[in-house]
């Protein structure tokens, strides 16, 4: 009885729900505007401009920042992605294998490489691998090392993604394939994996964006002038000229690729969401 009465009583504040919502939104705008003004007043724009927006330095960076640095970044990323994808698929299949040791190995791999900073893996590939296998060269020089390091990092994530994708394919698909006379392996290759990849294209594209940024870790391997990618290129030029403009330009070059890729991911996700309806 008294409960029901209470709900009908006007609130203490005397505000309706709509008024409260308007008030809260108004407060958020006030905080935002205040923060922008504080930032604008506090920052030393003249020095910022000097340090980050030297127009002739920007001009000096072209075309090398695109034809060399961005090209190398893309090359490193793509080769790492391909290695990671192949390795990730193998590990995903091992994870789903009926053979126990395969499952354990895959599980251990995933736990280790998901838990380590990418930087450590680069150092490991640069130092430990040549030490452990003296005389053996990783084929492809720096490119091979980067592909291996980025591949090792991304394979752990991709394996989990691909495994989830394979398990998301309805069980009836395997049964239908088997009932038509496909062997388990052939059904996997022709029927299950193609469908799984459709499911995991959005998360894999996301992984590509992450790899793109991780490719900057190449500088810890020590690279020649010709092998420099965006971050190394920007940093080198910045220290030569004692000015940070090159860093800003390099950063913008990353966004040039990652922003459209992010857009593609959202489109793919929206499309996948529609398809499963």
């Amino acid at each position: 009885m008294s409960d029901a009465d209470a709900t009908l009583q006007p609130r203490k504040s005397g505000l309706t729900r709509r008024q409260k919502r308007a008030l809260s939104r108004g407060a958020q705008y006030v905080v935002f505007v205040a923060a922008v003004i504080a930032f604008a007043v506090a920052a030393d724009w003249g020095r910022l401009k000097n340090q980050f927006a030297q127009w002739d330095l920007v001009k000096q960076m072209f075309p090398d920042v695109i034809t060399l640095a961005l090209k190398n970044t893309v090359l490193y990323t793509m080769s790492g992605f391909v290695v990671g994808l192949v390795l990730g698929l193998v590990i995903a299949l091992m994870r789903l294998s009926p053979v126990g040791p395969y499952r354990w190995l895959a599980g251990i791999y995933i736990e280790i490489f998901r838990g380590l900073p990418a930087l450590l893996i680069f150092v490991f590939v640069g130092v430990a691998v040549p030490l452990a296998f003296p005389g053996t060269e990783i084929p492809g020089g720096t490119y091979g090392k980067v592909a291996l390091a980025l591949g090792l990092v991304s394979a752990a994530y991709m394996a989990e993604t691909i495994r989830a994708g394979i398990q998301a394919v309805p069980k009836g698909q395997m049964e239908a394939a088997r009932s038509l006379g496909f062997s388990h392996a052939r059904a996997m290759v022709s029927i299950i994996i193609p469908q799984a990849f459709r499911i995991v294209i959005p998360p894999l594209t996301n992984e590509l964006v992450l790899l793109f940024k991780d490719s900057s870790l190449v500088l810890f391997l020590g690279v020649t002038l010709e092998e420099r990618e965006l971050t190394k290129f920007g940093r080198d030029l910045a220290s030569q000229t004692a000015n940070s403009t090159p860093i800003l330009v390099a950063g913008l070059c990353y966004l040039l690729v990652t922003v459209p890729l992010g857009f593609v991911v959202r489109r793919l996700e929206a499309k996948a969401g529609e398809a499963t309806k």
């Binding site: 309805p170 009836g172 698909q173 049964e175 239908a176 394939a177 088997r178 009932s179 038509l180 006379g181 496909f182 062997s183 052939r186 022709s190 029927i191 193609p194 469908q195 459709r198 398809a275």
Partner: protein, 271 residues
């Protein structure tokens, strides 16, 4: 039209199930099934859900591994440990309740890919066989469509065509119309009826009593993992000799009545 006397006169049966048991953990789903299906015979398996009829069907092509017993298809012992199950399955077509078309392939590709990968047929031959079988189910105009753009009934007919394209000796149907809207059931049953007339050996798990009555040579009623009744449709459906069969059929025809009967029965048991 009903071929009442089963064709048991012909030599070896096409499907022969001998003392088949299947359990999932503690759950005994099949408890000793013996069944023979002759060449060209159409057998409908009916029974309440959980009676084991789908499991029996799935044991015939070893989608489920029997716990005990033997299954022979066309004289080959399917359950023999040394048998090449992929080779046996090529001779057994199967149609599922949920169609299970390959969604990433077009209708034609759904028919050609298994032929090419499994039977190693050439591109042209596979395409030819695919076109033939699509025509057989009346869906030639959908050859380039993708499964998602088809109605349930059309998908199921494509699934039948896909199985037929492999040239099977036997066709298994696992509740082929249960997932369909009522107005789409007829087209699928029409295709199956024609297949039966063409002499295909068919084992059909179904709830479509009119189909069973009209098309089947024999009707098998299962309950609790055993075959309760096995005979001509007119007998099993029209004049069942077992109480359990009668009960199932009355429930199927008039669910409300069956509830009343249940209550009466329970009351009697209580006494």
């Amino acid at each position: 039209m009903t071929n009442t006397s089963s064709s048991s006169g012909t030599s070896t049966p096409e499907i022969h199930v001998r003392d088949l048991h299947k359990s999932f953990g503690d759950n005994d789903v099949l408890r000793g099934i013996d069944l023979e299906i002759g060449q060209g015979e159409v057998v409908c398996v009916i029974g309440p859900s959980g009676s084991g009829k789908s499991t029996l069907l799935r044991c015939v092509n070893l989608l489920e591994e029997p716990t005990q017993g033997q299954v022979f298809v066309g004289g080959t012992e399917v359950t023999h440990p040394d048998v090449d199950i992929d080779a046996v399955r090529r001779r057994i077509g199967m149609v599922f309740q949920q169609f299970n078309l390959f969604p990433h392939l077009s209708v034609t590709e759904n028919l050609t890919l298994p032929q090419r990968r499994v039977l190693k047929r050439g591109k042209e031959e596979a395409a030819e066989v695919a076109a033939e079988n699509l025509e057989r189910v009346g869906l030639s105009e959908k050859a380039d469509a993708y499964p998602s753009s088809l109605s349930g009934g059309q998908q199921q007919r494509v699934a039948i065509a896909r199985a037929l394209a492999m040239g099977p000796e036997v066709m298994l149907f696992d509740e082929p119309t249960s997932a369909l809207d009522p107005e789409l059931v007829g087209d699928v049953l029409a295709v199956m009826r024609r297949l039966a007339h063409e002499g295909m050996t068919m084992m059909v798990v179904t709830h479509e009593m009119s189909f069973a009555r009209e098309v089947a040579d024999r009707v098998v009623f299962m309950d609790g993992g055993v075959i309760v009744e096995d005979g001509a449709p007119a007998q099993v459906i029209g004049n069942p000799s077992h109480e359990r069969t009668r009960h199932f059929l009355s429930r199927l025809l008039d669910p409300a009545m069956a509830d009343v009967e249940d209550d009466v029965e329970e009351g009697e048991k209580g006494l």
